[in-house]
């Protein structure tokens, strides 16, 4: 099927899969396309822009679901394990994407493909089997209704091959829960944007991959020398040792220290019982072993064991986001229930952030007397009732009873219930805000508001102002922005920071590598990418070119969202965060000065201040003339 690309790093082929006709087709990747959009997020963004528009219902056959790796996925760049899945999101109705690590992404490339592009809808449940350059759709009748781990086991068994890699949905995706995830390698989650529901709507249960093809290296004589240098830098960073010890679990302690650990549906940024759900507690009582994804030196993955009781399990450990979402956010200090709730979410294929955040919305409404036992079918929603949290996870995945309403996400659930519960929805563009209380770190507030997939901490991932990386801030953004940029409570220069980070993150996710090592710890940067790209792919792109690619992808995402009606008014945060001062803790009295930061951000972006629309000259400078033309056809008037 198809011919190989001449570029190193890439497998060289897209795999198009038409679910309706049950057909697969390999298409060579155009060299120019590769240089313009790199891979991963960039590829997915371009394909989605071209194939999906305002007329497309996210859960209809017309939506397009894209798995995409980058040219560094499966190579020896530190943390080269990543892939992206993108589609129009059933949660937000705009650009949707989710990312995960593990071993699946590299294996897709060893199987001969960089991307998989799924269209249509099958009449019956199917799974895709990509086997060393070939692809076919197979019957998934027996898999349907099974959780993600069972699905993975069953596929491995039916092919007599425990080494093949599976990316799949659980019951939540099948039941079109609007925040369903796609899970690979048992517990790596491409969680956000409700991407799992899109797979479910297409009756696509899983994608299994294996292969024995090369990822070729353009300059083998220089390759190892470059890689050795990157590995050395990574291992020398003091953060690597801490990551290996705690993963992200001890962020609970760190966030508590600066008042950034959301509790009680983000009313507050501190949680009195934080020690009970901390990284230290996990390490002392439940941690079995750290575990790495492909070519990962950070090894933030780990697995945990709860020996006995109702929450007994052995499997992937929660990371910080799940601890805060199912823990402090819901006022829950029962650590075993958090571990188990996280595991359940992986089995069902649920985004823990949206799950915990939606439940905490209901808990606050309960406390206010706006939701009662009549709504919940008798389930008690007292803060911290862990039994109810676990019950609700089951009910959401199966869309049973009150779970059916929650499965719509907190925004739609509040619309449905009304009674003033809307003001407790902690969202941006209908997606639940991650575990980053922004009143304690202003850049996170701005990043949450501007991220293309709706509320998101990772689209820009501004973290250097979190705990005093001033030196690195000076190097990455410029000395002239210090000390303000390094002060997490000062809104000044955060527009610049978030803009630069969004561009850089787009490059990172397009190359197929992790934000650990690139964003935090801030070890690898553009110059490392330039060198590694040259020896891997065989092309010399300059730092300026990479920066421009990042900016292009962000503007393309904005173009997609603008076409869906997104404007400045949507780049917003709940009133609680912009108007109500943080009630306690180290950031007491703070609010997010969003408007001020947005002005600076749009300025940097070359977008119009009043509307948030990209200016024509901005899109033109980035080579996006076709987007200008397309938006004109859609009767959207872009500013000069």
């Amino acid at each position: 099927m198809g011919r190989k690309a001449s570029l190193g790093g890439y497998a060289g082929q897209h795999l198009y899969v038409d679910m309706t006709k049950e057909q697969c087709k390999a298409v060579p990747i155009d060299r120019q396309f590769a240089i313009t959009y790199l891979g991963g997020q960039g590829f997915a963004s371009r394909i989605l822009y071209d194939k999906v528009g305002p007329q497309t219902d996210p859960l209809s056959p017309e939506n397009v679901l894209i798995w995409a790796t980058g040219p560094f996925t499966g190579t020896l760049w530190p943390q080269a394990s990543r892939y992206v899945v993108a589609a129009k999101s059933p949660l937000t109705g705009i650009f949707g994407e989710a990312h995960a690590a593990g071993h699946w992404g590299p294996e897709l490339k060893f199987a001969g493909f960089d991307t998989i592009i799924i269209t249509g809808r099958a009449k019956r449940p199917l799974y895709l089997f990509v086997d060393n350059g070939t692809a076919k759709l197979l019957d998934a009748k027996d898999l349907w209704g099974h959780n993600t781990n069972e699905t993975e086991e069953m596929i491995k068994e039916s092919h007599y091959d425990p080494s093949l890699r599976v990316s799949c949905i659980g019951q939540a995706g099948e039941n079109l829960v609007r925040f369903a995830a796609i899970i690979n390698d048992y517990d790596r989650a491409a969680a956000r944007s409700g991407i799992g529901a899109v797979a479910g709507s297409k009756h696509l249960k899983a994608v299994a991959v294996r292969g024995s093809q090369d990822i070729s290296v353009a300059k083998p004589d220089r390759y190892l020398e470059v890689i050795e240098e990157l590995h050395k830098k990574m291992l020398d960073s003091p953060f690597t040792a801490s990551r290996a010890q705690y993963g992200t679990t001890n962020l609970v302690e760190l966030m508590q220290e600066i008042g950034r650990l959301p509790s009680y549906n983000m009313r507050s940024g501190v949680f009195a019982e934080y020690q009970k759900i901390s990284g230290e507690a996990i390490k002392n009582h439940y941690l079995v072993k750290p575990r790495a994804d492909y070519a990962c030196l950070q090894r933030c993955g780990r697995y945990t064991l709860v020996r006995t009781g109702p929450y007994a399990y052995c499997g992937g450990s929660p990371e910080y986001e799940s601890q805060s979402a199912l823990g402090s956010r819901c006022g829950n200090d029962n650590l075993e229930s958090i571990l188990y709730g996280h595991h359940l979410s992986n089995l069902y294929g649920l985004d823990t952030i949206s799950t915990g955040s939606t439940i905490s919305w209901a808990m606050e409404a309960w406390e206010e007397g706006l939701i009662t036992a009549e709504d919940t079918g008798g389930i008690d929603l007292e803060w911290g009732n862990h039994e109810s949290i676990i019950k609700l996870i089951h009910m959401i995945a199966h869309r049973k009873g009150f779970g059916d309403i929650l499965a719509e996400g907190s925004y739609r659930a509040a619309q449905r219930i009304g009674r003033g519960t809307e003001k407790f929805v902690m969202h941006c563009k209908k997606q639940e805000i991650a575990g980053q209380e922004p009143r304690a770190q202003k850049s996170m507030g701005l990043a949450t508001a501007t991220a293309a997939r709706g509320a998101d901490h990772l689209y820009a991932f501004p973290v250097l102002d979190e705990v005093g990386f001033d030196e690195e801030i000076g190097i990455r953004y410029g000395q002239e922005y210090l000390p303000e940029m390094g002060d997490r409570l000062n809104p000044k220069f955060k527009g610049i920071m978030v803009k630069e980070n969004e561009d850089f993150c787009a490059v990172v996710e397009s190359l197929g590598v992790c934000k650990y090592g690139t964003l935090i710890p801030p070890v690898l940067f553009y110059e490392d990418i330039v060198t590694t790209f040259e020896v891997t792919v065989g092309l010399h792109l300059t730092e300026v070119q990479f920066r421009q690619i990042g900016e292009r992808i962000v503007n393309l995402n904005r173009g997609f969202n603008v076409r869906e009606g997104i404007r400045r008014k949507d780049d917003s945060l709940p009133r609680r965060l912009t108007h109500i001062p943080a009630p306690e803790g180290p950031s007491k009295g703070q609010v997010v000065e969003l408007d001020q930061m947005l002005d600076e951000y749009y300025e940097q972006r070359g977008w119009q201040l009043e509307t948030g629309l990209p200016k024509i000259q901005t899109l033109h400078r980035l080579g996006l003339d076709d987007v200008i033309e397309d938006l004109r056809k859609q009767k959207i008037k872009l500013p000069q």
Partner: protein, 165 residues
């Protein structure tokens, strides 16, 4: 003295860097199926590096109908690619799954304990060992495990003495 590649499965994190490095070392490309070792994960997270143990009475050597496998002076089993016909008898014979057929040439490939991959292991658990050295490592570990409390007590006592003096 037989030498072989070994990683402690309680320490190895399963990053598979050693696979990628091995394939690059021998073939100048990145392809785990061309690696001479294999990292197998026993879910949810025990990682085992599988590599040839250069057995004393090697099943693979006995099984090979072409006499393509022989032991060199360092005690390492070597594949003679000219003789190997890719029948896979050695794969069937090896009880560890430590010998494989190359995905393109279809000739047998296996770890020759060259040690190249060991310096890239991020948790520094990959090494070339003899059985004797492995036994010592394990003894050490057992002692540490079994006598953890005793060692702690000794340490505390030592510290107290230091403080007192």
């Amino acid at each position: 003295m037989r030498r072989f590649l070994y990683a402690d499965p309680t320490v190895c994190v399963g990053c598979r860097i050693c696979e990628a490095i091995c394939s690059f070392h021998w073939e100048k490309t990145l392809n785990p199926k061309k690696a001479r070792n294999r990292v197998r994960r026993v879910d949810p997270g025990l990682d085992v590096v599988v590599a040839c143990r250069n057995c004393d009475q090697a099943w693979c050597v006995e099984a090979c109908p072409e006499e393509a496998l022989r032991r060199n002076r360092q005690g390492i089993i070597i594949v003679d690619a000219k003789k190997c016909r890719g029948c896979g008898a050695c794969v069937e014979a090896c009880p560890f799954g430590a010998i494989f057929l190359h995905p393109e040439t279809q000739k047998a490939i296996k770890c020759v304990a060259c040690g190249f991959c060991t310096k890239y292991c991020p948790v520094n658990t990959l090494r070339i060992l003899t059985e004797e050295e492995l036994a010592v490592l394990k003894q050490q570990k057992v002692i540490q495990h079994e006598c953890a409390n005793l060692l702690d007590e000794l340490r505390v006592e030592g510290e107290t003495k230091e403080r007192e003096s």
